[in-house]
Amino acid sequence: MDTVTVELKPRVKQLVERQSQAAQISPEQAVQELIELGFEIRLKELYERYRRADCSFGYLAQAMGMTTWELTHLLEERGWPTHNLPG
């Protein structure tokens, strides 16, 4: 796992502190959870666009920072259809 240093905006910092206390986890874990939540939201948003044919599979993969092979395996693991053909 890579480590990065980021400066949190005051609102986000407050959220991290609150979440850290409420869930009894470290601030680092709270930040990690927020990032994962952001990834999931972004993936769902783009996947919906893909299913509507607003964007292609390759576009979706690139926007998520992965290859089409990685995206295929990720969607298969989740049981989400990899195609966007009607019918």
């Binding site: 607003d54 292609s56 390759g58 092979w69 990899t82 019918g87």
Partner: protein, 171 residues
């Protein structure tokens, strides 16, 4: 020999499923040249560190069974038109390859719905992989029973209606 330009989606399908002990990809390579754009090859190289299906593709690229071609500059509005849509590099480059004069007559095999529609609006000769299989059978390049097995094997990758349609074409 027939020439087929693949973007990533049909290549992944062809590398994922085996029929009669052989990858679908190898059944196709028995009668056709498969060409991919360099952007699709780049993805194969990255993904082969992680996935067995990508390793299958990389192996065939390294032995020259799959050709890798760089799209050349296309004049006119085509690049601008392609930029209007939310296409990835692989789909865009696969469409651009059809404009190379040395690939004149090649078929684009494209399973992405948007990519297919854009290709259609550009007047590009294109096929879904599920249309290619029955066509190869109709032309005598693929045994009908084998073709039906291939369609059946790839079922998890497609909408049910598309699979049933292809199977009916093979009866």
């Amino acid at each position: 020999m027939r020439r087929l330009i693949f973007d990533a989606s049909p290549l992944i399908t062809a590398c994922k499923f085996r029929v009669q002990g052989q990858l679908v990809l190898d059944h196709l390579l028995a009668t056709s040249r498969i060409i991919i754009p360099s952007s699709v090859q780049n993805e194969v190289v990255i993904s082969s560190r992680q996935f067995a299906d990508a390793q299958e593709a990389e192996q065939r690229i390294s032995t020259g069974a799959i050709d890798v071609v760089v799209p050349t500059a296309v004049s006119g509005n085509v690049p601008i038109i392609l930029g209007l849509y939310g296409l990835g590099d692989g789909e865009r480059d696969a469409i651009l390859l059809t404009y190379r004069t040395d690939l004149d007559g090649a078929w684009l095999v494209m399973d992405d719905y948007l990519g297919y529609l854009v290709s259609d609006r550009l007047g590009v000769k294109k096929l879904f992989l599920l249309d290619l299989i029955p066509r190869l059978a109709a032309q005598g390049d693929l045994d009908r029973a084998l073709a039906a097995e291939i369609v059946e094997a790839t079922r998890p990758r497609y909408a049910p209606a598309f699979v049933e349609h292809s199977l009916l074409l093979l009866k």
